[in-house]
Symmetry: none
């Protein structure tokens, strides 16, 4: 470990062009690792405040001269940190430390401007993985490998079900890791879970289904996708043992038959509980008795931290369960790649829905994911993210005054609070502190408000990028300290 002080090291260029900035960068290793080491040193400098918000960095040429690195190494390191959000590069005015603690952007009235408002720096809302951990190099390498060997015929209009090679790799993966009973012909590649659910809704509607039971609380976005396909939704109350199958009979009796139930068995979203064995069996029995379908949204099934994950419900009744998975959590949602494993009777209707909606996932994503799956790189990535998120969940639990609700799994956890009013107060207080929070009552989770619904913060501990995790945690504990009453023991 060498400590290099550009100002003191003879070259004053760094100081001059860097606007008087003194960089004390500790670079470890040597050779090809210097670039990475420089990145780490710069991150440290930002994190510690030695490089304050808005500060202008030295020019690449002068910093390279000061540190005895090639200019390309410095350029690459800056680009990497810009990509990760530590720095911003502005044409003409050089590279600066990103303004990480801006007041939250007003999200109303976005209108149709293509520029998105910069998200506030601190965000603990659920539903997003740590985007800064996306393995960019691994992904680019997979794309290159895939395009080196793919037969040109695979570059034409893709089959609406997906490329055969990816379907086979997915069938193998879900069987191996989640116990799903799948052959490649049962797998359909979709534009993430959202795209898959929209197709499924269309296919179910075409099969005569008119109503789908959904978990309450559950994701409003999923209910909306079902409604957009002409389906009604009915609420399944979520108990500590997961969605309540007993409610199905009632719902059916009241308003006509329910043709499917959308479930999150491994880790209920948002309540974080696991569907109990008895409930699993009851749902399966219901589906068999009524010739209905269960849709198993296994959105974070690979992420269980205390024990082996509960295997897929699908394996109990492959003819009645549609299994749905996605790369959104182990990689990033932007890839828009997910999969459905379908009962035989739904395969043709679903492919038809895909043709009718003109959707298909691009071959670049398909080929690269197939490559990662086949090489075992995808499994390694899952393990890497599992370690990261397990650590974050543990740090979250340690930092909080009360116990988290739900099993240690997935990318979010629940912090119970005393009342809906307290939940709202905490969210408002967070916003003032530049921290975005969701609660059980703030995101359309409940199909309708009712008495007796529990209150809690739904904490997406995966959401912050690496550099913002600690600040987010500090901001959260600050908010909770402020309202000590809101955190019952």
């Amino acid at each position: 470990m060498t400590t290099i002080e550009p100002g003191a090291a003879g070259g004053s260029a760094g100081r001059r062009r860097g606007g008087g900035l003194d960089l004390h960068l500790a670079l470890g290793g040597g050779g090809s690792r210097q670039g990475r080491s420089l990145e780490a040193a710069l991150r440290d400098a930002v994190r510690s405040g030695r490089l304050p918000v808005g500060a202008r960095l030295p020019g690449t040429r002068s910093l390279a001269a000061d540190l005895g690195l090639s200019r390309g190494t410095v350029v690459h390191a800056y680009a990497q940190l810009v990509a990760e959000g530590w720095l911003v590069g502005t044409q003409g005015s050089g590279t600066r430390v990103a303004e990480t603690l801006q007041p939250p952007a007003d999200e109303t009235g976005r209108g149709q401007r293509p520029e998105r408002p910069r998200p506030p720096a601190l965000d603990l809302r659920p539903g997003r993985p740590d985007l800064s951990s996306f393995p960019r190099g691994l992904w680019a390498a997979a794309v290159r490998r895939a395009f080196t060997s793919v037969p040109y015929d695979d570059l034409g209009q893709p089959d609406p079900g997906g490329l055969p090679g990816l379907r086979a790799a997915v069938a193998d993966y879900v069987a191996r890791t989640r116990g799903v009973r799948a052959d490649p012909g049962a797998v359909v590649i979709t534009a993430g879970f959202g795209g898959g659910l929209a197709l499924l809704a269309r296919a179910l509607h075409g099969q005569g289904v008119r109503a789908v039971a959904t978990e309450n609380p559950g994701l409003a976005r999923h209910r909306e996708l079902l409604h957009a396909a002409g389906l009604e939704t009915r609420s399944l109350p979520v108990t500590p043992s997961g969605a309540d199958p007993g409610a199905l009979a009632e719902a059916g009796a009241l308003t006509g038959p329910v043709g499917a139930a959308l479930l999150t068995p491994a880790h209920q979203h948002p309540r974080g509980v696991v569907l109990a064995p008895g409930h699993r069996a009851a749902f399966v029995a219901w589906a068999r008795r009524n010739d209905a379908y269960l849709v198993e949204d296994d959105y974070d099934g690979e992420f269980r931290y205390d024990r082996e994950a509960v295997g897929a419900l699908q394996a109990l009744a492959p003819d009645h369960v549609v299994y749905a998975g996605t790369v959104s959590k182990a990689l990033v949602p932007g890839l828009r790649l997910g999969w459905l494993v379908l009962p035989a009777a739904l395969r043709r209707p679903l492919l038809r829905a895909a043709e009718e909606s003109g959707t298909a996932v691009g071959v670049t994503e398909q080929l690269a994911v197939a490559d990662l799956l086949r090489r075992g790189d995808y499994d390694r990535q899952v393990r890497r993210m599992r370690l990261l998120y397990r650590r974050r969940r543990a740090e979250l639990a340690e930092a909080l005054p009360t116990r988290l609700d739900g099993v240690p799994a997935g990318l979010h956890a629940l912090l119970p609070v005393g009342s809906v009013r307290q939940e709202r107060e905490l969210i408002a207080r967070g916003r003032e502190a530049g921290l975005l929070l969701h609660g059980l009552h703030s995101n359309g989770y409940w199909a309708a408000p009712a008495d007796g619904q529990p209150a809690a913060l739904v904490l997406g501990f995966a959401t912050p990028p690496a550099h913002a995790w600690r600040p987010a945690l500090d901001a959260l504990t600050g908010v909770l300290d402020w309202s000590g009453a809101a955190t019952p023991r």
Copy 2:
């Protein structure tokens, strides 16, 4: 893989305590994988019926002894399978196979194997570029560059309209090369033209449109996409001056108002003619008068070989024309990336349709295309393909005994033949010679058969990969020589 038969392996405890049950469990791997392997073996045993419904399993202690595993491993495996619903544990009476499980599902009738049939070697059907000319290295480099610098925020769930950077690059490109009047906010990125048309159909339907005029002959696939969104289609006859705007009044009068017309102004598909200036003006006047929309499918607008391409119709009436472009021709259809440039009134309905159908194009394709557009690499690629296709069209014209119909443009050309019967004979003869051909009457181009429809082969000279172009041309001339009568002078 070791086959372990508990009964035969010395310990009879398994048999005794298991109620006479002989477990033939094949355990793979070793060490810490044994637990998982045991679970898999038990699942298999249940699935295959070797462990029948209701059967009692051996005690954990005896099974552990029989299999040479630790008792904890067996306890864990049982617990796992209870959690997954395969087994039920009852206090006092041990562990049994769950009653809810039915005998193994019949997995026949899977049909739908994911392998596609190998295409024949020679193919002159239209609608596909030369896939073998895809610049794989350029593409992989663009992906790498894009992922080196993209801010991590762009890796989340993409905006349904597309990434801001790509929308800006497309707006610039279509303005520069096709004269389209576009700002980035008017651009929406879609899953190719098919995905765009499906969204547009949904948006138009939501605006009260019930019928769309389509060119006759035209692509059956486009009519189907419109029908799938609940729209009717009306035929616009295609004259040597392109689609006939005069037919709109008639169509409207007969069956209610037509809210939009889908056109291929630069190069009619399939007839290869250009929409004449007078027809362009008449369509625009019609749209203005009826507050209707024109959809300009500019599928191959960059490919004109004898003169500068006719600029986009959109520029005449940006408030009434939806302009549609795609990378399918200059790159490959498998990327599934296209764009719409929308009148202001259609932007919100279209983005809503995109949200409702859960579609979004993956960021890998979006970032890479944006990179190619910004660097000018995309323009160079268009020029490269234009040279290639111009040469092919010239070679085709030279090899044929009669003149090609339509302007020298795009990726296909028409070879007129004397009758529908001759067209069919040539296609059949081609098939025998291993050459796939389409004619005006063989691909659903006509909405309905009628007297006086011209006959022709629709030759996709771009379709063959580089190595198959000459053989395809030779096969075609062979087929034409055979039936000299089919090629009038």
